[in-house]
Symmetry: C2
Subunit: 299 residues, 2 copies
Amino acid sequence: MKLKASLIQHHHQGSRAANQQYIADQIKLATQQGARLIVLQELHDHAYFCQTEEVDHFDLAEIIPGPSSQFFAALADQHQCVIVSSLFEQRTKGLYHNTAVVFDTDGKLAGLYRKMHIPEDPGFHEKFYFTPGDLGFTPIQTNIGKLGVLICWDQWYPEAARLMALAGAELLIYPTAIGWDPLDESAEQQRQLAAWRTIQVSHAISNALPVLSCNRVGHEPSPRPDAPGIDFWGHSFVCGPQGEMIAQADQSDETLIAEIDLDRTETLRRIWPFLRDRRIDAYAGLNERFLSMPQRSTS
Amino acid sequence: MKLKASLIQHHHQGSRAANQQYIADQIKLATQQGARLIVLQELHDHAYFCQTEEVDHFDLAEIIPGPSSQFFAALADQHQCVIVSSLFEQRTKGLYHNTAVVFDTDGKLAGLYRKMHIPEDPGFHEKFYFTPGDLGFTPIQTNIGKLGVLICWDQWYPEAARLMALAGAELLIYPTAIGWDPLDESAEQQRQLAAWRTIQVSHAISNALPVLSCNRVGHEPSPRPDAPGIDFWGHSFVCGPQGEMIAQADQSDETLIAEIDLDRTETLRRIWPFLRDRRIDAYAGLNERFLSMPQRSTS
């Protein structure tokens, strides 16, 4: 089965309303070209507000369903496409998640994925805003297939991709917001971009699943005068289940369209049957934090 | 700390004696250039005998210690280097393993790793020859560091690399013997090579560890008249803990020398602290074969 997917990579447009209008326009264009799956970037309705820790930013969060989820539900229904949106979810007073909300081709809520791995780095203060997800690594069933939706920092964890594959995901999907420290030198920036691409492509390979990664793009200044802001690096991509690149963006606003052959997963798993040979009798240590006792350096 | 490592990639030289002589010559040259870690390719003493299932091939196996392990032990002692060898181990009558045997800089046996994931594909009949390892994913302590030695098919499993990292490995090392079906078209061959490189580089990235992968090279015909043999694809490589390529071979006999900065692991784990955020409360499913019940196709 062939599936046409679209990834909408864009700069922050200045406001929630402007971002939603931009996305609505792009979804219309993408579905006119046959896209039945739309993937949006992480926290697409807002500037990346986690550069600093501000209690007022919790005002951006919405109960689901709420005005924003209803907006994307209506778009999914109107254009008969699945939409993977990325919202700042208020679950109750004082409890917030970084949540992918998936709408089916009839506009109904297909399911939620609450980001499981939460980063915390200078400029990325997500542990302040987001409670780690408690829905596990559970694919979301839609009319176009079973979606293994993960979010940003999750992309560095092969455990997350594997668990989605074992739970029957047919696609791995990453809304993401990753960028460079403008003060880093160019060689370091390029290593980071290459590492980011490689780790996600590796999840395609080890699980024989297509990977779709939609990243934010553009410079967003920090509210702190002593911080350089973030250069979100774009480079959204779609690769097939052998890691073969199907479509990739650069560092500008771009709506990618990619045709994915979902039948290749079975073909590849027959020639490289990794799932057959997993040593599940010997993986218990994966549930531990670390397995080695402190020791003197050997050097 | 800087470590100079050498990977000896070569064609099968026609006999065990010829292979051992070739390796001895290359180790001498590599250690003269400062290499303190030598990585050999998988089953380097022999043609890749797993293309067919022949009971007589079990004659190639040796008890450890035995003549071959003593040969490499003496080389390690003579050149004061660690050698990661890859031997066909006879454990007792009728019980055989695909085993990496590591010798320390004084020639003493540092430890064994018995290949955990065993492939079985046309031309790669390893399940006939090798009992899956029962030593787990346990790094081997040497005078130059703690080595996470894995073998060939293991390289496709992020679980194996992660377990080595959690057990304190400072380097990930893959003796391997992988090649193309000569009948596959060139585009497929290139996708396979790229996937093989990507998956191993991804283990470097997700664990912030250097990866050293030493592959066999050259065409080896099949004993079966109806089989095309294997074009072992070489392309041995060393990458750093961010996935940055340090040295790589092409498709000829080549002894790679690479200088590895072991201090970069700590630097990288500070800026991208993946180990900090693993969701060990949610990884139990990794110990299962599959997590989804049979279902009708959704398409």
